[in-house]
């Protein structure tokens, strides 16, 4: 006995409750998958680019760490923000990504760098971009404009990085006398906890020019990071646009 055309013409979801339940199940499944996908993708981006500046407390300096971290890591939130906002009007892409990144980083630090390689967690803790992500999302929510989000949100993304993480890193910049050398606690930890592949001369900290604007290079780095984040945001909005043009046809069919 074959199923007739009449049987196939009935929709699978007939009532509004059934549709809502199905939509919710779809949301949950996709949310879980996207969470793990973003954890992997964003973490790989961070490890391959920011890398050592985020791995070790004695690399968290006043120039490269506060410059490279926000500038490079605004790339993926910009692209995903475009997709989430343009297709779903959801203003939480940056927050979701920064949360995924922090979770993935902690997993890596605890299981890999601490559990396997024996580095103490107080030496290898990751920085956080969650406040920067919230700022970027809220600016998009309030303005609805990618240009304004790039300028205001991108600026906030970079500026908030340093004060957010200073609450954690400040205690490691307390000075000590290490066999006649003035060293911060972070420097002492880097010296004591042996990394055979990281000799002292390899540590890229505080190197650079533009030293005639006062003693502290933080402000130069922050200003440069701010403008670079704005540009990076606009660039990767374009990446998000290309993605939606190419990859979204399957979602339409759903």
């Amino acid at each position: 006995m074959a199923a007739g055309p009449q049987a196939r013409a009935r929709p699978a979801l007939e009532t509004a409750e059934e549709r809502q339940r199905a939509y919710r199940q779809f949301d949950i499944i996709l949310a879980i998958l996207i969470f793990f996908l973003f954890m992997g993708l964003y973490h790989i981006v961070a490890m391959l680019t920011v890398g050592d500046w985020d791995f070790w407390v004695d690399w968290k300096d006043r120039r490269w760490w506060i410059l490279l971290t926000p500038v490079i890591l605004i790339s993926m939130p910009a692209a995903v923000q475009f997709i989430f906002w343009e297709k779903f009007r959801l203003p939480f892409a940056a927050t979701l990504l920064t949360l995924c990144l922090v979770v993935a980083e902690w997993l890596n630090r605890v299981i890999n760098m601490h559990g396997w390689a024996y580095f103490p967690l107080d030496f290898i803790w990751p920085s956080t971009l969650i406040p920067s992500g919230i700022a970027l999302d809220v600016v998009l929510l309030l303005t609805g404009s990618y240009i304004l989000t790039a300028i205001i949100g991108g600026g906030l993304w970079s500026i908030l990085f340093y004060p957010t993480n200073w609450t954690m890193v400040a205690r490691y910049m307390v000075p000590t006398n290490m066999h006649g050398f003035l060293m911060s606690i972070a420097d002492v930890m880097g010296f004591q906890f042996v990394r055979t592949g990281t000799p002292e001369y390899l540590r890229i900290i505080d190197r650079g020019t533009l030293r005639s604007f006062g003693q502290d290079p933080i402000y130069i780095s922050l200003a440069f990071a701010m403008f670079s984040c704005m540009l990076m945001y606009m660039l990767f909005i374009g990446v998000g646009y290309l993605f939606t043009r190419i990859q979204f046809s399957w979602f339409k069919r759903v």
């Binding site: 949301d27 024996y118 103490p120 406040p131 002292e200």
Partner: protein
């Protein structure tokens, strides 16, 4: 009838079963078969790197057994080869490091010629340096501990290694450090509670923001609304007010945390990085000179033979006691005995055969035939010199006078491999 039937099953049915069985067998073998992997990383370095860059000597490990929180001192000398390999970047900046499997031991201090080794330093070719590295046990286990020199743009140059066992309980490890503000902190756990607390605060705020949106129908209804041109209705006044509130809370927590941190830690310094120019040890008078006539390596017999002329310009007769290269030592047992605690695998059992094995008097030039024969040429992969861009053998000859005063002479020469038994050295 299916000709591939096996016990009533078709090929399509048995192939997956065979594949599953094979994978299961591999998995079981992978779990039960492997033993502990232990490697001598220095043997992975090309021979020319180990012979024509740094020669380590007098290496001494204060102990081979220590407990967690107890100390081990690795000390000795290293000689920077005068004729540094052309294939390597010169040692214009180097760092005294130690090769252990990660921070299983912490480095308490290090020094080169008594100067703090925490900074990098340029090294002079043809000169000698004394080093000391003090380690403290942290994670129980058995580890191979080497001194190591990292040279900028050249890489890591490993010294000799010795097995050291750390016993005790890792949980008992402490690492107290005194700060200039008068506090003593334990670097094993310092600041971790505050770091985790701040991370948890931000994770909770992020989750709250996400949950605010996740409680609503998410993807398909919103997508449909946008496709129908009703995207503007998806963001309400409540959403905007909530967003402003979250941003306000975020900024307050950031600014408040920043201000309170500055109050709590009023004195901080930036990360420090510097380099020093550490002077080498005083130059030893070069009262002995060596010129090479010929140096060959007889591969089947694992033997290196030197035909050299030694001139003694000193005031005392000397005898050849040792040849060392790539941390391997060939000792003339009639002149010099190995230290009891030196790793036996780095001492060639057959030693150094010197013909004639007699003193070289002051003012005399003597032709010596020196044979260094040992399987260590092969086990340490030094025989692979033939595949290196620089086919030269380098090392240190050590001469001793009757008062046991040592005279170090750097040696460097072309070396030619020999494969045919007709050229085999006498007595092999």
């Amino acid at each position: 009838m299916n000709q591939c039937n096996r016990g009533g099953l078709s090929l399509a049915e048995t192939s997956p079963r065979l594949a599953h069985s094979f994978i299961l067998a591999l998995t079981v073998a992978a779990v039960i078969a492997p033993r502990v992997a232990a490697a001598h990383g220095e043997r992975a370095e090309p021979p020319f790197l180990r012979m024509a860059a740094v020669q380590w000597y007098d290496t001494h490990w204060s102990t081979s057994h220590l407990m967690v929180n107890e100390e081990l001192t690795v000390s000795g000398h290293f000689h920077i080869v005068k004729y540094w390999s052309f294939a390597l970047a010169p040692p214009d900046l180097a760092f005294l490091n130690v090769d252990v499997p990660g921070p299983v031991m912490i480095r308490v201090s290090s020094s080169i010629d008594g100067v703090n080794g925490a900074a990098s330093t340029p090294l002079e070719l043809g000169r000698d340096y004394a080093y000391t590295i003090v380690m403290r046990g942290r994670i129980p286990g058995r580890y191979h501990v080497h001194p190591m020199l990292d040279v900028r743009s050249a890489g890591a140059l490993l010294g000799p290694g010795n097995w050291v066992t750390v016993g005790g309980d890792a949980a008992s490890f402490t690492d107290p450090v005194n700060t200039l503000s008068g506090k003593t902190v334990d670097l094993e756990h310092y600041g971790l509670r505050a770091v985790v607390s701040w991370h948890l605060i931000w994770i909770l705020i992020a989750l709250a923001w996400l949950l605010y949106w996740l409680r609503k129908p998410l993807l398909i209804p919103r997508y449909e609304a946008i496709q129908q041109g009703e995207g503007g209705s998806l963001i309400t006044i409540t959403d905007r007010i909530t967003g402003v509130a979250f941003l306000g809370v975020t900024l307050l927590v950031v600014i408040g945390g920043f201000v309170s941190t500055n109050i709590r830690y009023p004195v901080t310094i930036p990360l420090q990085s510097t380099w020093l120019r550490i002077p080498p040890l005083p130059e030893q008078p070069t009262s002995i000179s060596i010129t090479a006539d010929r140096v060959i390596y007889y591969i089947p017999g694992r033997t290196v033979e030197f035909w050299v002329k030694v001139t003694n310009n000193g005031s005392k007769p000397v005898r050849l006691g040792e040849f060392t290269t790539a941390s391997v030592r060939f000792l003339n047992r009639s002149v010099r005995q190995p230290e009891a605690d030196f790793p036996a695998d780095l001492i060639a059992p057959a030693g150094l055969v010197v013909e004639p094995d007699e003193p070289i008097n002051p003012g005399e030039t003597k032709a010596l035939h020196i044979v260094a024969s040992s399987q260590v040429w092969e086990t340490d992969r030094l025989a692979l010199l033939i595949q290196d861009p620089t086919s030269r053998i380098g090392g240190l000859f050590m001469f001793f006078d009757p008062h046991n005063t040592r005279y170090l002479v750097e040696f460097d020469s072309e070396i030619i491999p020999t494969f045919r038994s007709g050229n085999a050295p006498a007595g092999s």
